[in-house]
């Protein structure tokens, strides 16, 4: 099998070790930590063509390309990163990492706590988006990248991109914020809490010490993912994909067996796959960070005052059927930027797929995204 020509091809994750550790916003400190990351494209001689990808809740460093010829699926954002794609690897040097607290190789709850000699588990320090941004800045230093040509993120990734613009205004030229919000709504937090409760109510969760007990709270993780997954899809998308189709049983009178709808089996499958690949403590930590995020908290709850600290240009995109972070949330970002007098562009993409649309190759989305990225200078 040969890999598609419009992909970045085979990629190998790298690891950066930070012996100096990092001070966290909760007041605690990681005495040392590691970040796993991938890069696509070539860094130019002036190191001015670097684009940072910030991942969402369950994302990781493997955003594009393949790890081996045998991989069935490419990285999670392969539709948007690659030669000729919106984030064009013929022009840009793309850096994609797994955030601290994650479970795909960077230091997180599964890592060994050097102070105790066993896994952090539930004792891993609580994180905020700014901790991720600070650790990403350390990675940028390590790679010799003084200023990102662009920082791009969808959902929770978009929140990191905005935080970058406020915390390191001179280190980012363009900020691309997709399907994000300046803070979560009560409904968003409610769904996250159901997910956490599902995990914590699983007897195998063991108060978070399931690794020591050599078990995994699969049931809870699967249920958490099922709830989350529903919020990523739209009513229309689910109707289109599953309708009321049955996988088993029958509506015929006289048939006693229970019916099973396609949507049930799909959700169970998604939940089951996720529960085998994701860490329960990471899920709790990530959803907490998401709940905690409030872009303007440190700026007197005034988003306009917050954005006055930014020096970059912004591109904001939303999707019509996204009800997790609806177009209204994106318009709030745009309005605050307009009022703050910051350069901003905005497009609301018609799409049936709900929040998940930001991961999909929707023609207008790809066009708008590509059109914006053309202006992102590589400065060589």
């Amino acid at each position: 099998m040969s890999l598609p020509a419009d992909s970045v091809g085979l990629v190998t994750p790298q690891t950066a070790h930070f012996e100096e550790g990092i001070e966290l916003s909760c007041g605690r400190r990681l005495t040392e930590f590691e970040l796993v990351y991938e890069t696509y494209g070539e860094l130019n001689s002036r190191r001015s063509n670097a684009v940072l990808i910030c991942h969402a809740l369950s994302g990781h460093h493997h955003a594009a390309g393949y790890h081996s010829e045998a991989d069935r699926k490419p990285g999670w954002w392969n539709d948007c990163i690659g030669p000729g794609k919106p984030i064009d690897t013929n022009r840009f040097f793309v850096v994609s990492l797994n955030n601290i607290g994650g479970c795909h190789g960077s230091t997180g709850p599964r890592s060994i706590n050097p102070e105790t000699g066993s896994a952090y588990g539930p004792d891993f320090p609580p994180l905020r988006a700014r901790d991720w941004v600070n650790s990403q800045a350390m990675l940028a230093d390590r790679l010799g990248i003084e200023r990102w040509a662009a920082i791009v993120g969808g959902s929770l990734g978009g929140m990191q991109a905005m935080r970058w613009a406020l915390e390191y205004p001179d280190r980012v030229a363009h900020c691309v914020v997709i399907a994000a919000a300046m803070k979560l709504s009560a409904q968003n937090i409610a769904f996250n809490e159901i997910a956490r409760q599902a995990i914590q109510a699983d007897p195998d969760y063991q108060e978070g010490r399931y690794i020591d007990a050599n078990v995994i709270p699969k049931q809870g993780l699967a249920l958490a993912r099922m709830v989350g997954h529903i919020t990523y899809l739209s009513d229309d998308a689910m109707a289109e994909k599953f309708g009321r189709d049955l996988r088993a049983g029958s509506f015929e009178q006289g048939s006693a067996g229970a019916v099973e709808f396609q949507v049930e089996s799909y959700l169970r499958y998604q939940g089951s796959v996720f529960s085998e690949n994701f860490d329960a403590n990471t899920y709790i930590l990530m959803t907490k960070a998401l709940d905690y995020f409030d872009l303007a908290r440190e700026y007197g709850d005034d988003p306009v005052a917050a954005f006055r600290n930014a020096n970059c240009s912004f591109m904001v995109m939303s999707f019509s059927t996204d009800w997790r972070f609806s177009p209204q949330r994106s318009r709030e970002i745009v309005d605050a930027l307009i009022e703050a007098g910051r350069p901003v562009s905005y497009a609301e993409i018609e799409a049936d797929q709900g929040h998940d649309a930001f991961l999909l190759p929707i023609p207008r989305y790809v066009d708008v995204f590509s059109a914006y990225m053309k202006r992102v200078g590589v400065g060589n």
Partner: protein
């Protein structure tokens, strides 16, 4: 380049902030960036226009001005431009108010429905005018609020809007002088520079 746009340029201060309501593919903002070094922002709802404006390196926000412009602060722009969009608005009078709240001055261009050809067409055929200039049938047109030069000036008077300057474009070089003398009859396109 639409001929009404070249004239507007004179009214734009170098280095000023310009908001273009209905910026289409952004060609006018682009021209102003080059000739007047303005800082521009476009509003548009047409998908192809938005993509083209973005690709040209312009800032463009997808927003329907008929649903309000309250997200723009008072006096946040030096000039607010609206070229040929006036008849397509649901609430043109309210958008005019908003233009002059957001900008220190406004520039409006619109097709003059009292042009003699329109009158002739309506008078002789008894049907809504269709021409190269106004190519739509009455039932399928984005233009739902046609007005004339006199209508517009009456509205400005009613609202206390000052007309700082006006420029009339006739159908051809022959009628250009006539358009200046008798705009309501001979102007095909009217261009106004307004303020409060």
């Amino acid at each position: 380049m639409r001929q009404d746009l070249t004239h507007i340029e004179r009214w734009i201060e170098p280095g000023s902030r310009v908001l273009d309501l209905g910026c289409s593919d952004g060609s006018f903002l682009l021209q102003l960036q080059e000739s007047r070094q303005i800082r521009g922002l476009g509003l548009e709802i047409d998908e192809a226009g938005i993509t083209a404006a973005l690709a040209a390196g312009l800032d463009v926000v997808e927003q329907n001005m008929d649903e309000g412009l309250s997200n723009f602060p008072d006096r946040s722009f030096d000039t607010v431009v609206m070229a040929q969009t006036l008849p397509a608005l649901h609430y043109p009078h309210q958008v005019l108010d908003e233009m002059l709240r957001i900008g220190k001055t406004g520039i409006v261009t619109f097709p003059n429905f009292a042009h003699w050809r329109c009158r002739w067409y309506l008078g002789t055929r008894g049907r809504m005018p269709v021409s190269n200039f106004m190519p739509y049938s009455w039932y399928d047109t984005p233009n739902i609020h046609f007005c004339t030069v006199q209508d517009f000036e009456a509205l400005c008077h009613e609202k206390g809007i000052r007309i700082l300057g006006r420029h009339m474009i006739g159908g051809s070089s022959l009628t250009h002088g006539a358009a200046r003398l008798w705009p309501n009859l001979f102007a095909m396109t009217a261009i106004y520079h307004i303020s409060r």
